[in-house]
Symmetry: C2
């Protein structure tokens, strides 16, 4: 019998059975008490990994090495560095990534090709490999080490982003855990974003990759903080089968439940990233309904959520439907002006392509809350999509005018 | 004999022979002494118009009516309204545009199909047609009325943008005049931008359209203020032949000179618009050289110039090459990291894809000036392109959080 999904906002990547993690301070970030910048995640049993990687043509060798080793099918451990991205450093970058994963493998008693690597932070600076290899041997792995790992991967984030989702298969419980970091430079196609997912479900590598792609396409790839992209974006998932619930096949009721749980996990983390965008004060959720096809719905939702003018208006709690309409118009989606209906936090402010009288003070006060939901009905078809973003504040500009490469 | 191009920053659309213009205050903008919001431009002799129009699917009926009448080939006058865009007002918008052009035609003794219309400002509000028709009859046309018209088309711009370019053909002088407005919501594809050009050259309609498209593609369509687009963007040119310099043919020395002068005019106005972007403190010029093809060069230059993170860095005078590289990487252009060279105001800060030591304080102090030039050499081919933008300031956010639809 297949059960309901139970979501735990405080969960983490070591909630699924058979995963341990840990982190330490290696000296890459500026020191402060309780700061962590080097972490590790291990699966007790080998299990397939699947991954999604940055589409930028300028990419960190950490990403290239990890992608190659995910394809190799032997991975079971991950080392993550935050503070320095290991990007734009020439050939030294690949040599460093290999050395750090080799050292991690040695420490764990694994083969180098079993170790993946993630890195995030400033670019153009070589990794201090000696500090990192010294740090590796100080990491203590534990069954609740996911929380430390979640902190260790952060850069300009203000807080950890982690959760877990469980469901029952017969008498066994299957769990998916996830952690993520985001902040600046997030845009459809997963810019400067790391997300690590674990599950004790038993799932074949090909199905795992398809399920991950589907979840990422409708969550992290529908997320925009500032329209920029990075050299290091990675989403990884490992399915180690430790739940003992039997293999989960595509198309089965358990498979559908797994996909739902994975999607829910990714929606949660994507929203947490948007909420914590640099200088953000509000989460923006844009849903476009009534589109002729899903691609159009996605383009329209993403264009509205990433419009700088829409983001400024929402920052000021201004129900500025004109900017939303302008974004729809240039989105490339099929739009008939005379059919558009528009809702802000469920209050209709436009119908048939024209603004309707609404209680402005009421809508402004709704928009002063921490979440603003824009819903557009194009009234042309049956398809829909949702995108997430955050408002654009003076603080974002101040922060990003001062940040040093 | 074909002469040199003489450019006059203080020139305007009534500098070419045979054009008159004028403007008045009709009551659309909030009143202040010397404010203008309704203007007119007339060619003494009929001559072909050419136009480029917004690509947004949500577009003002002012744009649709003007596009139709440009194609009709009979246009010789233009009426422009600023303060209200005549967009998102349902069927009334087209009726109003027809009524206003009819009234203008009646006042001038023309046929309605000889009159074009432009409008810019807030959307979703119907035009006060009675105020406008009353205003039309107060407009006095004159040979130096272009300066008033240049002021009348402004919205949130802080100053007029106008110029003229002249060259000699035999003993005759041919002149191109231009005015523009910009400010917020400018992005490749000419968002919320009006530009009106005049010339006393004699040029066939088809060649005029090709020359205009070529100039707009490499100037206004390479301009980004905030990545947004509008419902009303329009660039128009009228060639009335009044210079008496004979017909200028495509491919002739005079044709090449005309194209150069037109391009120079459009570069000037595009840069003036970028410099005057909402909250802008600096003009940014991004040149990408060494690309495999022009499309790649254009994509790369536009992506860098419109990156929110690059704009913030330049606002803070931070030579943050990492953000430039990140923008190149996601631009879609072919890029080989190890070949990239990067210059800020002609100081090389990156070579072979890696940062090189540079006098940081010197570069920061160069970047504190009013113009920042980013030059990238991809070292892959022979093609190049230039894009323009402005920095992103706290003032932009403050301004656009408070603006009302």
């Amino acid at each position: 019998m297949v059960g309901e999904i139970r979501f735990l906002a405080g969960g983490t990547v070591t909630d699924p059975k058979g995963f341990t993690a840990g982190a330490t301070y290696a000296g890459l970030k500026t020191y402060s008490e309780d700061k962590l910048d080097l972490g590790m995640l291990i699966s007790d049993m080998p299990g397939p990994f699947a991954g999604m990687f940055t589409t930028s043509t300028v990419r960190s060798p950490s990403v290239s090495l990890t992608e190659e080793r995910v394809s190799g099918g032997k991975a079971r451990a991950l080392v993550v560095i935050s503070g320095i991205a290991n990007a734009c450093v020439g050939e030294q970058g690949l040599a460093d990534a290999k050395e750090i994963t080799a050292e991690t493998a040695r420490y764990l008693g694994f083969q180098p090709e079993e170790v993946l690597i993630g890195s995030t932070g400033i670019i153009g600076v070589e990794l201090p490999v000696a500090l990192i290899t010294a740090g590796i041997s100080r990491i203590t792995l534990s069954n609740d080490g996911g929380h430390d790992l979640a902190r260790a991967i952060l850069t300009t984030d203000s807080k950890s982003k982690e959760g877990s989702a469980s469901f029952d298969v017969g008498s066994q419980t299957v769990t998916i855990g996830g952690i993520a970091k985001g902040s600046g430079m997030i845009h459809p196609d997963m810019a400067t974003m790391l997300c690590y997912l674990t599950t004790d479900a038993e799932i074949g590598a090909a199905y795992l990759q398809r399920a991950l792609k589907q979840a990422v396409d409708s969550t992290f790839n529908m997320l925009s903080i500032d329209g920029d992209s990075s050299t290091n974006d990675t989403v990884l998932i490992c399915a180690n089968g430790s739940a003992g619930a039997g293999i989960i096949d595509e198309g089965s009721p358990e498979g559908n439940l797994f996909e739902q749980a994975l999607n829910q996990m990714c929606v949660y983390l994507a929203k947490e990233i948007a909420r914590d965008g640099e200088g953000a004060t509000k989460l923006i959720e844009v849903t476009v309904e009534g589109a002729t096809d899903t691609t159009a719905a996605r383009m329209a939702a993403k264009t509205v959520a990433s419009s700088v003018l829409v983001k400024c208006a929402i920052h000021g709690a201004d129900p500025n439907w004109g900017r939303i309409i302008a974004a729809l118009g240039r989105s490339g989606a099929e739009v008939e002006e005379g059919k558009i209906a528009l809702y802000v936090n469920d209050v209709c402010i436009m119908e048939g392509g024209r603004p309707i009288p609404f209680h402005r003070d009421g809508v402004v006060s709704l928009m002063q809350g921490p979440e603003v939901a824009i819903r557009v009905n194009l009234n042309l078809g049956e398809r829909q999509a949702t995108a997430w973003g955050c408002d654009l504040s003076e603080e974002y500009v101040t922060f990003n005018s001062a940040y040093t490469t």
